[in-house]
Amino acid sequence: MSSTLLTTSVSRLILAPTMLTAVAFVVKGYASAGDGFSAGVVAGTAVVVQFMAVGPRELANRFPLLRYAPWLTFGGLLLGLLTAFVPVALGDPVLTHYPRPEEHVPHLGLLAMHTAILFDIAVFLIVFGFIVSLLGLIGGIGVEGETQ
C-alpha cells in the first residue's frame, strides 16, 4: 500500500480527536445519543484509518500494544459478566444496576457513577477489541493468541 506524506500526517493528526470522541460517547452515553457500541466502532475506525494510511508493519511499530487486542475483548466480556452476575450474589436479579432507582447518583462532571456505565464500557472493550483483533488477523499484524 502506498502512503503519502499527506495521508500519514493526517492519520496521525486525527487519531487523538477520534479517540476523544470515543471516550465522550461512553461518558455521556447515558445522557445523550451514543453508547459503548458506537464508541467501540469509532475507536476501531481510528485504528483502521491508521492501518490504511501506514500499512501493517508501521502500525505494529507505532502501537506495539495492539497485539494484545483479543485480551480487551475477553476482558470486556468478563467485566460484562461481572456487572450482570455480581448482583445475583448480592441477592438481586441478574443485571441489577446500582445505585437503584430513587437513590442518588453521584456525578463526576457529566459522568454518572452508575454501574450501567461499567456495562457500557464492557460493550466498548468488546467491540473495539474485536475490530482491532480482526484487523490484526486479516491485515497481518501479529496478534497474541494467533501464534504457536
Partner: protein, 764 residues
C-alpha cells in the same frame, strides 16, 4: 436426616461421584474404577434407605410454572434400585473387563476414566428421570440418558460400526423424544401445569388426551426398542459389553416402559391406546423371539431377546396389569444383565463372539456356567427361579383377557424357551471348539451373584412382589396387591406354563428341522425391514444436504444466490400461510416530509448505480452512498442513536472495502470475470425473486397499524428512574440488558472462533 436430603441423597451421591471419577481419573486413571464402584454402592444403599414418598420441590422458572420436583415413590424406587444395583455390579465387572478391552482395541489406560464417568452420568440421568415429578424435568433427563448412551455405545470411537450404531441409537431415541416434548407442550397448554401428579389428576378423556398419550407412547416404545423402531438395539451391540449389560437390560430400555407406567392413568383415558400397546407388545415379542433364533452372535441374540421381553412388559401394561409389568421389569433386568455379562466373559476368555465357534465350556468355566444357567433358566421361566413368576404373572394377565391372547402368550414364551436354550446350550454344552483363557474374578462373581439372586427370588418371591406392588400402586395412584407364590393346581397360569415348556422342549428337540425358517425371515427382513427404511431416509437427507452444499460452495455467486433463494422461500412460505394481503394498503405521501423522500430517492439511485457499474471503486462508493442515505433517513424519522450507529458502520465498511480493493491485483484476467449467459439469467431471476419478497415483506410490515405506543411510553417514563436521560442507552444497558449481554457474548465467541481458525491455518 432432613427429608429433602433423604429424597435427594441418591441423586446427589451419583452427581458427586460422576465429578469425582472424572476429576480423579484425569490425574490417576486407576482410581476411576474403585471410586465409581464406591459411588454406585452408596447410591444403592441410600436408595434402599429412602422410605419417603413426599416430593421435594424447588422453584425453577416460576413464571413458566416450572419446578424442580423430585420424589422417591414406589415406581421411582424400583428403577433406582435397578439403576444403582445393576450399575454397581456392572461397574465392578468393568474394573476387570475394561483394561482387557482397552488392550484389545489398542487404546491406552487413560481412556478408562471416561468410561466410568459416563456410566455414572448415565446412572445419574436415569435416577433423575425416574424421580422427576415435572414433565419438563423428565424430558431433560430423558434426553440426557439418550446423549450419554450415545457416548457409551460409541465408546470405541475408532471403529466405524460403533460410531454408526451410536448415531442410529441417538437418532431413533432423540427423534422420538421430540414426540415427548410435543406431548409435554400440549399437556402444559391444555392443563396449565407441568407437574406430573396434577396432570394425571386433571386429565380428562378426549381427543387431545388420546393424541398426547399416543405421542408419549411413541417416545417410550422407541426407547424400549419396540417394533417397528427396534432396530437401533441390535446395532447398539457394538458397544462394550458392560454398556449393553447396563443400558440394554436394566436402564436405557427400561426407561421406556418406566415412562409408560409413570403416565399410566393418562394412557388409560385415551381411546384405543391400550389395545395399541397390546399390538405393539405382541409384535415385538414375535420379532424378538424369531430373530433371536436366527442370530449367531451372542450379544445380538440377547438384543433381540430384550426386544421380545420388553414386548411382554408392554403387553402387560396394555392388559392393565401394572404391578405384574413391574415384576417382569425387575426380574428380567437381573436375568438379562447376567446373560450380557456372560457373553462378555465368554468372549474375553475365548476371543469368539459367534455361537458356532463356541461350545462345551461348562467344565472350563463352571461358575459362569452355573450363574448364567440360573439366569437362562429364569428367562425360560423354569420353576425355582424368579423367572417362573415373571411368566406366571404374564400368563395370569393373558388368561384373564381370554380370546386369542393366551395362545399368543404361550407361543411367545415358547420362542423364549427355545432361544434361552440356544444361547446357554450353545456356549456351555457340546464339544469344545475354542479353549478359554483365564479371566479375572471380578468378571465371574457378578454373574454368579445375579444368578443366585434369580434363584433367591424363585424361592422367596415375596421380595419382588413387595417392590413391584409399591411400584404399581405409585403408577396407577391407587393401592394394588401383588402376591407371588407357587400354586399346585391346574389353573390357567400353570397350564399355560406347562404348555410353554412342552412347546419349548419340542422346539429345542426339533431345532434342526426348522432352523432355516427364522434365518430366512432374518434374511428377508434385511431387504424390507424398518431399519432399511430408516437408513434410506437418513441417506436421502444426507445426499440432499451434500448436493446443496457442493452447489453452494462452487462460486461466490452461487453462495450468495443460495442464501437469497433460501430466504425467499422462507419469506414466501410465511406469506403463503399467513397472507397479509387484505392489510396491504397504499399510504398517503406526507408532503411536508420531502427531505425524507429525497434521501430515499438518493438511496435508490445509488442502488441503481451499484447494480450497473463495472468499476470496483465506483461500486464501493455507490454502496456506501446507499448506506449513508439510509442513515440520513434515520435522522429524519427521529432516531439519532440508530443514525449514529448506521453512519459508523457504513464508514467502517467503506474503509474495509477500500482496503481490500487496494490489496487486489490491479489487472485481473478479464476472461475469469465474464459470466455465461445462463449464469447471468439465473442471477437476475434470483435477484428479482429476493427483491420481490423483501419488498412484499417490507410493504406488509409498513401497512400494519402503528404499534401500540404504551410500551415505548412506559420505557420513556421509566428511563429517568434508571438514572438515564438517553432512552436507547437505558434500554440497551438496563431494561434489555440481558439481550445485550447475549450479543456481546456472541461477538466474543466469534473472535475466539476466528483466532482458532487462524491458529489452525498457521499450524498446517
Amino acid at each position: 436426616m432432613p427429608e429433602p436430603l433423604q429424597v435427594l441423597l441418591p441423586l446427589l451421591v451419583s452427581v458427586a461421584g460422576t465429578g469425582l471419577v472424572a476429576g480423579a481419573g484425569a490425574l490417576r486413571p486407576q482410581l476411576a474404577a474403585p471410586i465409581a464402584v464406591g459411588t454406585a454402592t452408596l447410591a444403592f444403599i441410600t436408595t434402599l434407605l429412602s422410605e419417603t414418598t413426599s416430593a421435594v420441590t424447588y422453584n425453577w422458572a416460576p413464571t413458566w410454572g416450572l419446578q424442580l420436583s423430585l420424589a422417591t415413590d414406589g415406581l421411582a424406587r424400583l428403577y433406582m434400585l435397578l439403576a444403582s444395583g445393576i450399575g454397581l455390579l456392572v461397574l465392578a465387572y468393568s474394573s476387570g473387563y475394561l483394561p482387557l478391552h482397552l488392550q484389545h482395541t489398542g487404546s491406552g489406560p487413560e481412556r478408562g476414566p471416561r468410561f466410568f464417568a459416563l456410566i455414572l452420568l448415565f446412572m445419574t440421568a436415569m435416577m433423575g428421570l425416574v424421580m422427576s415429578q415435572d414433565i419438563i424435568l423428565l424430558i431433560l433427563f430423558w434426553d440426557l440418558t439418550a446423549i450419554t448412551s450415545y457416548f457409551l455405545i460409541g465408546y470405541d470411537h475408532q471403529r466405524r460400526d460403533s460410531r454408526r450404531a451410536a448415531l442410529t441409537a441417538l437418532l431413533i431415541t432423540v427423534a422420538s423424544a421430540v414426540f415427548l416434548i410435543a406431548a409435554g407442550a400440549m399437556v402444559m397448554h391444555q392443563l396449565g401445569t407441568a407437574s406430573i401428579p396434577e396432570i394425571l389428576e386433571f386429565a380428562e378423556p378426549g381427543t387431545t388426551t388420546t393424541v398426547i398419550g399416543v405421542m408419549i407412547a411413541i417416545a417410550a416404545l422407541a426407547k424400549s426398542a419396540q417394533a417397528p423402531l427396534h432396530f437401533w438395539l441390535p446395532r447398539a451391540m457394538a458397544a462394550p459389553t458392560p454398556v449393553s449389560a447396563y443400558l440394554h437390560s436394566a436402564a436405557m430400555v427400561a426407561a421406556g416402559v418406566f415412562l409408560l407406567a409413570r403416565v399410566y392413568p393418562l394412557l388409560e383415558l385415551g381411546t384405543g391406546l391400550m389395545d395399541g400397546l397390546l399390538v405393539i407388545g405382541f409384535l415385538s415379542m414375535a420379532v424378538g423371539g424369531v430373530m433371536a433364533l436366527a442370530q449367531h452372535e451372542l450379544k445380538r441374540i440377547l438384543a433381540y431377546s430384550t426386544i421380545g421381553q420388553y414386548g411382554y412388559v408392554v403387553v402387560l401394561l396394555g392388559l392393565g396389569n401394572v404391578a405384574a409389568a413391574e415384576v417382569y421389569v425387575l426380574i428380567h433386568a437381573l436375568i438379562k444383565s447376567a446373560l450380557f455379562l456372560t457373553a462378555g466373559s465368554v468372549t474375553e476368555a475365548t476371543g469368539e463372539t459367534r455361537l458356532e465357534r463356541l461350545g462345551g465350556l461348562w467344565n472350563r468355566m463352571p461358575w459362569i456356567a452355573a450363574g448364567s444357567g440360573l439366569a437362562a433358566a429364569g428367562l425360560a421361566a423354569l420353576p425355582l427361579t424368579g423367572g417362573f413368576f415373571k411368566d406366571e404373572v404374564f400368563f395370569a394377565g393373558a388368561a384373564e383377557r381370554g380370546g386369542v391372547i393366551p395362545l399368543l402368550a404361550v407361543a411367545g414364551a415358547a420362542l423364549t424357551f427355545a432361544y434361552s436354550w440356544r444361547f446357554w446350550g450353545g456356549i456351555f454344552v457340546g464339544r469344545v471348539v475354542t479353549e478359554p483363557r483365564r479371566i479375572p474374578l471380578v468378571m465371574i462373581a457378578p454373574i454368579v451373584f445375579l444368578g443366585a439372586l434369580v434363584l433367591f427370588l424363585g424361592i422367596f418371591p415375596g421380595v419382588a412382589a413387595e417392590i413391584a406392588e409399591e411400584a404399581g400402586s405409585a403408577s396407577v395412584r391407587a393401592p394394588l396387591v401383588m402376591h407371588l407364590a407357587y400354586h399346585f393346581n391346574l389353573e390357567a397360569p400353570n397350564v399355560m406354563a406347562m404348555a410353554t415348556w412342552a412347546a419349548g422342549l419340542l422346539l429345542v428337540a426339533t431345532s434342526s428341522r426348522w432352523a432355516f425358517i427364522p434365518r430366512r425371515i432374518a434374511r428377508a427382513s434385511r431387504h424390507v425391514g424398518p431399519d432399511r427404511f430408516g437408513a434410506w431416509v437418513i441417506g436421502a437427507l444426507n445426499g440432499l444436504s451434500r448436493r446443496l452444499h457442493a452447489y453452494e460452495v462452487q462460486t461466490l455467486q452461487q453462495r450468495v444466490g443460495t442464501i437469497f433463494v433460501a430466504a425467499a422461500i422462507l419469506v414466501g412460505v410465511t406469506i403463503l400461510f399467513a397472507p397479509p394481503w387484505p392489510s396491504y394498503r397504499v399510504g398517503r405521501f406526507p408532503v411536508d416530509e420531502w427531505p425524507l423522500a429525497l434521501f430515499l430517492a438518493l438511496a435508490a439511485l445509488a442502488g441503481m448505480v451499484a447494480t450497473f457499474t463495472s468499476g470496483r471503486l465506483s461500486l464501493v462508493l455507490a454502496l456506501s452512498a446507499v448506506g449513508y442515505s439510509i442513515s440520513a433517513v434515520f435522522v429524519f424519522i427521529g432516531a439519532p442513536d440508530v443514525a449514529l450507529v448506521a453512519v459508523l458502520i457504513e464508514t467502517m465498511m467503506t474503509l474495509l472495502l477500500l482496503g481490500v480493493i487496494s490489496l487486489l491485483p490491479r489487472d485481473v484476467d478479464q476472461s475469469q470475470l465474464t459470466e455465461s449467459i445462463q449464469q447471468r439469467r439465473r442471477g437476475r431471476v434470483i435477484g428479482v425473486l429476493a427483491a420481490g419478497f423483501a419488498f412484499a415483506i417490507a410493504w406488509g410490515v409498513l401497512s400494519r397499524p402503528a404499534p401500540d405506543p404504551t410500551m415505548s411510553r412506559q420505557l420513556i417514563t421509566l428511563a429517568p428512574s434508571a438514572h438515564a436521560s438517553d432512552i436507547v442507552t437505558a434500554i440497551l444497558a438496563d431494561f434489555r440488558g440481558l439481550d445485550t449481554m447475549g450479543e456481546i457474548t456472541v461477538i466474543a465467541i466469534a473472535l475466539l472462533g476466528t483466532l482458532t481458525l487462524f491458529a489452525a491455518r498457521r499450524r498446517v
